[in-house]
């Protein structure tokens, strides 16, 4: 399995009236062909901004990618011309978004919205594109696809719209599908259906997936690898089993400690992580998690640790060895 995507030192900032927001602060990660990478972290930790940066969809102004490389099939996405990146978007790399209620254009039919990528990237004519659109809708299990293809988004439920989004994403057989919290806006039963659908389609098509979520349960069932992000940094990166069995970063431990467990004692309380993430405009000099960290030592407040390998395919950015939750 070759490397599909290699991100090095990606750094994205937003230049606002209040100051420079350090949204993504130099992250590195690799993604192999056909692999599923989960990116987890709380709101505002830079998950979405990092993948939007790869797609070069950061609203600019105020946002700007200020540094880094993103090698995809031998080319740096961040150095491409507008025209080159457009030929990648929706074609080699597709993206689906959080809220299917607002991510589809209300005034265009499903056919118009799915077909346009087919016409653009695969050079199909209207008739071919329509036929393919119906096939795609059938592939994402939309019942009666041939009759629903000319409906408008408001005639679909939330789950069905997310299926349409997925069909749209898969239309040009991408090598990489980026899913930005695609199930967050859906209710739980629909979430499960969408996750199953993506798993099956992934098996059929064999694309790589980056799945962004704040739901650790979703990641456990779906991903091969996990990156945990905090305040614009990747603080831990590991294969999914290792992440759950042997978390090494206090933040990851905190996240896992705040999930309810079916096998826990009934009276057992959840342990939330106290405090709030740092202000991304005025970042502290040390580790960004240090003020909230139970294990913090003096060094943590002065120096920000780099991501370092601690075990096979497992790296952590922390000065303290917190193996197994002990100090």
């Amino acid at each position: 399995m070759g490397t599909l995507l290699q991100v090095k030192g990606l750094k994205t900032q937003f230049f606002t009236q209040d100051g420079v927001v350090n949204a993504v602060n130099g992250i590195d990660f690799d993604l192999n062909e056909g692999e599923t990478l989960g990116i987890v972290g709380e709101s505002g930790c830079g998950k979405s901004v990092s993948v939007l940066s790869l797609m070069r969809l950061i609203p600019s102004p105020p946002g700007r990618i200020v540094g880094g490389e993103a090698w995809f099939q031998g080319r740096d996405l961040l150095k491409m011309s507008e025209e080159e990146i457009r030929s990648v978007r929706g074609n080699k790399i597709a993206m689906i978004f959080q809220d299917p209620m607002t991510s589809l254009n209300p005034v265009l039919t499903i056919n118009q919205q799915v077909s346009e990528a087919l016409e653009l990237h695969l050079g199909m004519d209207k008739r071919q594109a329509r036929k393919r659109t119906i096939e795609l809708l059938e592939m994402v299990r939309i019942p009666d696809a041939a009759n629903r293809v000319d409906d408008y988004p408001h005639q679909f439920s939330g789950g069905m719209r997310q299926r349409v989004m997925i069909a749209m994403g898969l239309s040009c057989n991408p090598q990489l599908l980026i899913a930005d919290e695609p199930t967050t806006a859906l209710d739980v039963t629909i979430q499960a259906q969408i996750i199953d659908l993506v798993k099956q389609l992934k098996k059929e098509i064999g694309m790589a997936v980056i799945w962004i979520t704040h739901d650790l349960g979703v990641v456990a069932g779906l991903a091969d690898r996990v990156n945990v992000m905090y305040a614009g940094y990747i603080v831990e990166s590991a294969d999914v089993k290792d992440m759950y069995a042997d978390p090494r970063h206090p933040y990851t431990l905190g996240l896992l400690g705040s999930i309810p467990r079916l096998d826990a004692e009934r009276k057992a309380k959840l342990t939330p992580i106290e405090g709030l993430p740092p202000d991304l405009i005025d970042m502290p000099p040390g580790c960004p998690f240090a003020p909230r960290c139970r294990y913090a030592i003096d060094r943590c407040l002065e120096e920000n640790p780099k991501l370092e390998t601690v075990a096979r395919r497992h790296s952590v950015a922390c000065w303290v060895d917190v193996t197994g939750g002990k100090r």
């Binding site: 969809l57 102004p61 978007r89 978004f97 254009n105 209300p106 005034v107 990528a117 408008y152 408001h154």
Partner: protein, 306 residues
């Protein structure tokens, strides 16, 4: 859709009925009468005139007569200030001119306002945005009574490109249409810009970009139709105002339109002309708003009428 249009047109009947009742009673409630002059006429003459025009009757009887004349003979009544002309003559002679001017002004307003608004939104905070919005603020804040003479001074008297005043030839139509359309174009430009700016922040625009569409395709295919919905809303009343005549511009350019009758009929207590002009405006307003509502259905598939 067809049933909806029919129903809306039928609704015009009660609407116009109420407007006519209210206007008629208000016009007659205002002190003074159509034959009051600075140098008072002899009482007998006034009494005779009142009798001749039926003004000595109770107001409700006058109303019934007025309405039955319209409904039975399509006769909008006499003009008190002119023995030889009736309200129907005013409509026939002056409405087409006002309508021409109004339609031209509307075309100018749309032709300048929409592209300017789109340009300003796409190049937000750039030179084009500031230029466009400067023009728009100028257009909104400079009234026709200033803009009209200014245009005459520059383009008619100094540059001699267009005639100073009058109506009937295309050259004469240019300056008044601009003077009238400028303000409306500014309103349209500002609304279009605001609406575009809102739409291009929508999630579905990001989806369209994520598909790899060109910026041009994103704007034309995905943004414009959505952005036009709020703009369409203001076009109905705007159109009704423009085509039924505008006092200031018609006076400045000596255009024989409807505009002056709106104003003079009220000061003269010329009741049939007051009624006629207001009912005409009401009919245009109701129809223009219906047209806007039908346009919504074409712009936005979520809006369906039954």
């Amino acid at each position: 859709m067809f049933r909806y249009i029919v129903r809306r047109l039928l609704w015009m009947i009660p609407v116009l009925f109420f407007i006519s009742v209210i206007t008629f009673s208000l016009a007659h409630a205002v002190p003074g009468g159509p034959f009051d002059r600075e140098k008072a006429l002899p009482a007998e003459i006034i009494a005779n005139l009142n009798k001749y025009y039926g003004l000595d009757q109770p107001v409700w009887k006058q109303y019934v007569k007025y309405m039955s004349d319209i409904l039975l003979r399509f006769d909008f009544g006499p003009v008190y200030s002119s023995r030889s002309r009736r309200v129907n003559d005013i409509f026939r002679d002056h409405l087409p001119i006002s309508a021409q001017l109004g339609v031209l002004a509307m075309l100018i307003a749309l032709g300048i306002g929409i592209p300017l608004g789109i340009l300003a939104a796409l190049k937000q905070n750039s030179f084009w945005d500031y230029l466009g919005m400067a023009v728009a603020i100028f257009g909104v804040s400079v009234p026709g009574i200033v803009l009209g003479p200014l245009l005459i001074l520059i383009f008619a008297l100094t540059l001699k490109w267009f005639p100073v005043a009058g109506w009937g030839t295309p050259a004469k139509m240019v300056l008044p249409s601009i003077a009238l359309g400028m303000r409306e174009s500014a309103i349209i430009a500002r609304l279009t810009r605001a609406s575009m700016l809102q739409v291009i922040r929508e999630d579905y625009i990001r989806t369209a970009r994520a598909k790899g569409l060109t910026e041009r395709a994103v704007m034309i295919r995905h943004a414009l139709k959505n952005a036009f919905i709020p703009v369409a809303t203001i076009l109905g009343p705007m159109f009704a105002v423009l085509v039924t005549g505008t006092f200031v511009i018609e006076q400045i350019f000596a255009i024989p339109g409807m505009g002056k009758y709106f104003i003079t009929s009220i000061t003269n207590r010329d009741y049939p002309v007051v009624m006629g002009t207001i009912l005409l405006y009401a009919v245009f307003l109701v129809i223009a708003n219906l047209a806007v509502d039908i346009t919504y259905a074409f712009l936005d598939p979520r809006i369906r009428y039954t």
